[in-house]
């Protein structure tokens, strides 16, 4: 499946770069992505609603789950600061890049406004990469790191773009956990970036 994911993405990039995607698709690409995503998320909801065992598990889902996005936030920021240290980038700037949590459109624009086009572009590219790498790594991380670790790479995208893959590889019982994780991280992005940079 990872190969298929990589291929679909690579073919998409090549088609896009080569101008092979019809204008009709390209003009509506945001809508089409949202539509496909909604379809996938609805099918997760479908499985969810039809599974009584899962529903009873939600009730037993502890308050501890809220610590998961906080750990992801901390890990992302510390990891980014550490790399910045090697690259000679100031800690605040590195931290702000990491605090995009994969939400590239927003973090890129925000840092362009708050700091500079240069940092905004780097944040944008970093978080695009984070989303793509998360898609590619989910199955491996789930296999070797377990279901909670599989939620970690996606960051804020675990409530939408990476949700279908997390459910596929980490199990249906991670669906709600991943959704909450993505939601909390999404809320944290506009709070943390201005504080850090």
């Amino acid at each position: 499946m990872t190969i298929i994911i990589l291929l679909a993405l690579a073919v998409g990039i090549l088609f896009g770069y080569g101008g092979l995607i019809p204008d009709l698709v390209l003009g509506n690409i945001d809508f089409l992505i949202t539509f496909t995503l909604c379809f996938l998320v609805a099918s997760i909801g479908l499985e969810f609603g039809g599974n009584r065992k899962i529903l009873s598990q939600i009730q037993s889902l502890g308050y501890q789950v809220i610590f998961l996005p906080l750990a992801v936030a901390m890990g992302s920021i510390v990891g980014s600061i550490l790399l910045g240290f090697f690259l000679g980038v100031p800690a605040g700037e590195s931290a702000a890049i990491g605090a995009g949590f994969g939400w590239y459109s927003f973090s890129g624009v925000l840092l362009t406004k708050l700091h500079s086009i240069e940092l905004g572009t780097l944040a944008f590219l970093t978080n695009v990469s984070r989303e793509v790498l998360s898609l590619l790594l989910t199955s491996t991380v789930a296999r070797y790191g377990g279901p909670y670790a599989a939620v970690a790479p996606g960051g804020a995208t675990t409530m939408d773009v990476t949700l279908p893959l997390i459910v596929r590889y980490a199990g249906l019982d991670m669906a709600l956990v991943a959704f909450i994780n993505g939601l909390v991280l999404t809320i944290l992005v506009p709070i943390l970036i201005p504080l850090l940079v």
Binding site: M1, I5, A8, L9, A10, G12, I13, F15, G16, Y17, V25, I29, I33, T36, L40, V41, A42, S43, G45, L46, F48, G49, G50, L55, Q57, Q64, V65, F67, V72, G75, S76, I77, V78, G79, L82, L87, F101, L122, L125, V128, S129, V132, L133, S139, G145, G146, P147, Y148, A149, P153, M159, D160, P164, L165, V167, R168, A170, G171, L172, D173
Partner: protein
């Protein structure tokens, strides 16, 4: 964000009240696989047609990928630490099988 939440709730509603004909639900897994492939193709298409992304990747792509990798690794390590300390453990048999 709202379309996603609505889609999730609509799906859960249909699933909870078993409103989907069995003939269709048998195909559900194939539909999701197809959906994932279409989604990734479209996302790739969006990246490929964005000349700014392509140009930016040439200039600071390595740095961006390194940042992404460090953020991902940091997150995984932090979650593993958290898991040992505090998180409830999901039952093994409940996990979906991935290939």
């Amino acid at each position: 964000m709202w379309p996603i939440i609505v889609a999730l709730l609509v799906g859960a509603f249909i699933g909870y009240f078993n409103l989907l004909p069995p003939a269709i639900s048998r195909w559900a897994n194939n539909f999701t696989t197809a959906g994932i492939i279409i989604l990734l193709f479209l996302m790739g298409g969006q990246i490929g047609t964005d000349k700014e992304i392509i140009a930016g990747l040439g200039r600071m792509g390595v740095q961006a990928i390194l940042y992404a990798l460090f953020a991902i690794l940091g997150s995984i390590i932090a979650v593993k630490i958290l898991e040992v300390v505090i998180l409830p453990h999901p039952k093994k048999e409940e996990r979906g099988g991935g290939v």
